[in-house]
């Protein structure tokens, strides 16, 4: 069986608003979503803003980078430096955490986040 998910593309902000190689937080209803402008790779990512380790709303203020030979893109929480894959949301520092990730599209300088 195959399920096709309906993705709603929500306008989040302007591309210029998000600092190069860093993140910013977007409000979507009651949700907080972190988006990352990975200029070095020409890529955009989005995850939940809440760090699951100690429940802090801070991931958008974390540093981004990559890990390993495959250059897995990641964000490090500014609180205790737990790192999470921006692709899968998996915690890369050995804990069992998992964060939500969202697809991102940029058109005409506008950034859209895909909400399922």
């Amino acid at each position: 069986m195959e399920t096709i998910l309906d993705i709603e593309w929500v306008l989040a902000c302007y591309a210029d608003d998000v600092p190069a190689n860093g993140g910013a937080c977007v409000k979507h209803g009651n949700e907080q979503i972190a988006i990352y402008n990975f200029v070095r790779r020409g890529e955009w990512y989005a995850t939940q803003n809440l760090c699951p380790h100690k429940q802090q709303m801070v991931l958008s203020r974390g540093m981004i980078g990559s890990e390993g030979d495959s250059c897995e893109p990641k964000v490090a929480c500014p609180f205790h430096k737990k790192t999470f894959s921006l692709l899968s949301g998996e915690c890369l520092s050995g804990d069992e955490f998992q964060i939500k990730t969202y697809p991102v599209r940029v058109e005409d300088g506008k950034v859209y986040i895909g909400i399922v």
Binding site: G22, V26, Q56, G62, M63, G65, S66, C71
Partner: protein, 829 residues
């Protein structure tokens, strides 16, 4: 068929490990655990750390949800009171009855309390559970003199705990003629004793206590030799008694001296009932350590899951740090001539005693004892356990080889593959080396993929050496590289960035790195860039640590703190009023810091620019409390007011703070200036400290408070103010250029070959011929100082970054909540 039910009695260290091992190997069982204590299993081995700031949570071995996630029913605070072996049921205190297929007894042991008159008095404690420690802590608050009965391993640990609790006078009373009679010999005990004395412990050997006297609470101890000792409290640590009462009641075979008898499959006299951990008696032995307990757990799990593994006793070698003194005993520690040849090394000056016992043919190491220095423990233990042939000069093992290849490294790599490196988790050398060959490159990696080093932690140094050894053997060059993205040490990178005049992170990464960087190299490079060029750091905000990115320290809940600079701790009434007004306007919590200034907590990120605008208008500057840079130069009031003051310490502290403010460094920097030797500014606890003398100033460097306090060392005596600043310029710049990231000056000096003598030679005698350059470089940094907050406040583009929601800049983070406390607020979290 339905799943067999396993009931585990006791949720201590071994009971928990049993569950962990069982669920990791099979989902075939229905597991039910009963624990007498009200907490989930915790780490008893590190129990004493409860007094050094670890909470009960920190000590927990897992979480309630772990039990739930693995389908384990956990009954806490509900001991089993009866086992009915005919119906195969257990009965708990609260009335639960469960039918079991297999029963595992992991009831541990209780402290042995001798039957001495007065033992029931208030102020007499045992040392086994978190509750015991709570009781001890409460009572110690009003006690001045403490004693521990028993000079064994646990007794000495309890004595250390009493010292940590602030009991100035602590006594250890031991019945035997030496300390730690099970682990070390008389000569080792004598050495240990003299070291412990230096730490303020009074030790009484050959003493047996006849009475605990006092009205309703303990007041003094009476001994058999008619002497006595006034004490306010007593901790009993006279040995352990296996908890076999439940087993006895159920008619299982127990020993008259205590312990549930088991065979090599850990089966009791009833084949469906097992006993593991400190309650189990194997071959007339109780094993009072965790590692053998874990091994026993493993054997039962193997049995239940169809494997065949047997217990044949366990090596009781131990290494521990007692009150700062290393003590280790391994293999056959007590064998004497003529059964063996013994080599002893003693250094009474340094307090080191080492003994090794060697087979008569000189080929094998049988065992030994180390007191005062036990670095060689791991490798010696491996040498015994793996029957490694000794080198021609076995004394090298304890003296270190004098000239030629180090025996340690060589010996380590020649261990057989199955050598057990981590005994808590049963990880072999092969497992660690294979992990390295498959790409693991640091201790964290190894912990993650093999679990080695995650138990008691004792093997971590050995694991690190193995990693380095394997990498070297693979031709991988091991050095202090910054991270996976930069194959250079900080010092190398510093020089390369300087020579190539690189001014931003991306350029540095393109030139010398690979990948996209990470949270380790970004701030390290950011620090190098600012130490070199002193540019406005928020221009490259996303390579800064979070605190530097927002020029404020992030707090629990996501608010920030605001710390304006108050040089030397001197402040005018008008400025105090401004701080009060700003704090009121933005609803901030205020507190005087340990660094003689004022911290305002609880600021929303959106409010930071406005708060700073007001502060800057009133003449304040950033205090760099968020940066790896100069924090404060603490001062005492000095000669202007103090009757003892020799010079004006406040003016000098202000001059120095103004000079180095804003300078970025590998770690934070703190200074102090005191007006006389009474040292009210605590200058000797700082990275640099200046103390007035009759003739000028004494300059101390490389002190540290924090978790490993260290006094600063004297660099120069009786120098004038200008010389003092010149030396400081050189010292600070030398540190900035050569230290590893996040290394305080104390650690930097500790690692420096030649130590303070070498540093003196560089700073005072110009032995590297770099002083002129160091002074110029520092002067550049001083000249290019700017207040980072001023740059932000005056620049609309930069101000715009201080928002929580990029698409709703006016809105504050709704997740942030406060609650009232003592007429101020605190973060609700």
């Amino acid at each position: 068929m339905s799943q067999p039910t396993i009931v585990v009695v006791g949720n201590g260290m071994v009971g928990y490990k049993f569950c962990e091992k069982l669920v990791s190997r099979s989902a075939q069982f229905n597991i039910i655990v009963f624990g007498e204590e009200s907490r989930i299993a915790y780490d008893r081995v590190h129990l004493s750390e409860y007094f050094n700031g670890k909470s009960a949570d920190d000590l927990s071995l897992s979480t309630l949800s772990w039990y739930a996630d693995n389908g384990i029913a956990l009954h806490l605070d509900d001991p089993i009171q009866e086992i009915n072996r005919i119906d195969k049921t257990v009965h708990s205190l609260k009335g639960t009855v469960i039918k079991y297929d297999y029963l595992v007894l992991a009831t541990g042991s209780s402290p042995f309390v001798p039957n001495i008159e007065g033992i029931e008095k208030n102020g007499v404690f045992v040392y086994r559970t978190i509750e015991d420690l709570d009781l001890i802590r409460d009572y110690a608050a009003n006690a001045k003199v403490g004693a521990v009965m028993g000079g064994g391993l646990l007794g000495l640990e309890a004595a250390k705990a009493l010292i940590d609790l602030g009991i100035k006078e602590t006594h250890v009373i031991e019945f035997a003629p030496r300390l730690m009679p099970r682990q070390i010999d008389s000569a080792g005990s004598a050495m240990l004793q003299s070291k412990l004395k230096q730490f303020g412990l009074s030790i009484h050997l050959n003493k047996s206590t006849s009475e605990i006297a006092g009205d309703d609470k303990i007041e003094f101890l009476k001994f058999n030799d008619d002497t006595s000792l006034m004490v306010d409290m007593l901790v009993i640590s006279a040995g352990i008694r296996p908890r076999d009462e439940l087993a006895k009641l159920a008619g299982l075979q127990t020993s008259s001296r205590g312990g549930i008898m088991v065979n090599e499959k850990m089966q009791t006299s009833d084949e469906c009932i097992f006993a593991i951990g400190e309650c189990a008696l194997y071959n007339s032995m109780i094993y009072g350590l965790v590692a053998p307990g874990y091994e026993m757990a493993d054997i039962v799990v193997a049995y239940l899951t169809g494997g065949d593994k047997f217990f044949y006793g366990y090596d009781m070698s131990t290494k521990l740090k007692l009150i700062g003194v290393d003590v280790a005993s391994f293999g056959d520690a007590f064998v004497t001539e003529p059964e063996c040849r013994t080599i002893v090394f003693e250094d009474t000056h340094k307090g080191i005693y080492k003994r090794i016992n060697i087979s008569n043919d000189g080929k094998y190491l049988l065992g030994g004892i180390l007191v005062g220095e036990a670095e060689a423990y791991n490798i010696l233990l491996q040498t015994v356990n793996n029957k490694i042939l000794l080198p021609p000069n076995p004394e090298d093992l304890i003296l270190g080889s004098r000239g030629g290849e180090g025996v340690e490294g060589a010996g380590l790599m020649s261990l057989p593959d199955d050598a057990l490196i981590c005994s808590c988790e049963a990880v072999s050398k092969l497992a660690i080396c294979s992990a390295v060959n498959e790409g693991a490159s640091g201790i964290d990696d190894i912990k993650k993929c093999t679990k080695a080093g995650t138990g008691c932690g004792g093997c971590v140094p050995l694991v690190k050496d193995l990693i380095a050894g394997t990498m070297k053997a693979n031709g991988q060059y091991v050095k202090n590289v910054i991270c996976e993205h930069f194959d250079y040490s900080r010092q190398e990178l510093f020089d390369m960035v300087k020579i190539n005049k690189l001014k931003n992170y991306d350029l540095v990464l393109d030139h010398f790195g690979k990948g996209d960087g990470c949270e380790v190299c970004k701030p390290a490079v950011a620090s190098i860039l600012s130490s070199l060029w002193n540019d406005v750091i928020v221009k490259q905000d996303t390579i800064q640590d979070s605190n530097d990115r927002y020029l404020a320290n992030i707090q629990k809940g996501g608010t920030y703190s605001v710390v304006p600079r108050i040089p030397g701790g001197e402040i005018t009434p008008d400025k105090l009023i401004v701080i009060g007004q700003v704090a009121k306007r933005y609803g901030l919590y205020t507190k005087i810091t340990g660094g003689q200034r004022i911290d305002m907590f609880g600021a929303h990120v959106n409010d930071l620019p406005a708060i700073w605008e007001e502060l800057i208008d009133a003449g304040f500057e950033s205090g760099h409390a968020y940066g790896k840079s100069l924090r404060t130069v603490k001062s005492c009031v000095g000669s202007t007011w103090c009757r003892y003051g020799l010079h004006d310490s406040v003016s000098f502290a202000i001059e120095i703070e103004e000079r180095y403010k804003g300078v970025r460094s590998p770690h934070k920097l703190k200074g102090g200036v005191s007006g006389c030797v009474r040292e009210c500014a605590e200058a000797q606890a700082k990275d640099f400290g200046i103390i007035a003398t009759e003739k000028g100033w004494n300059l101390y460097v490389c002190g540290n408070g924090g978790s490993k306090p260290q006094h600063a060392q004297l660099l120069a005596t009786d120098i004038d103010s200008a010389t003092c600043i010149k030396y400081l310029d050189r010292f600070l710049m030398f540190y900035i250029k050569t230290a590893d990231p996040l290394t305080r000056t104390a650690t930097w000096l500790n690692k420096m070959d030649g130590g303070i003598a070498y540093l003196k030679n560089v700073i005072i005698n110009n032995s590297l011929d770099i002083n002129e350059q160091l002074e110029e470089e520092m002067q550049d940094l001083v000249n290019t100082y700017h207040c980072e907050w001023k740059e932000v406040v005056e620049n609309d583009e930069l101000r715009k970054r201080f928002v929580h929601f990029i698409n709703a800049p006016e809105e504050k983070d709704p997740a942030i909540k406060f609650e009232p406390m003592r007429e101020q607020i605190k973060a609700k979290w």
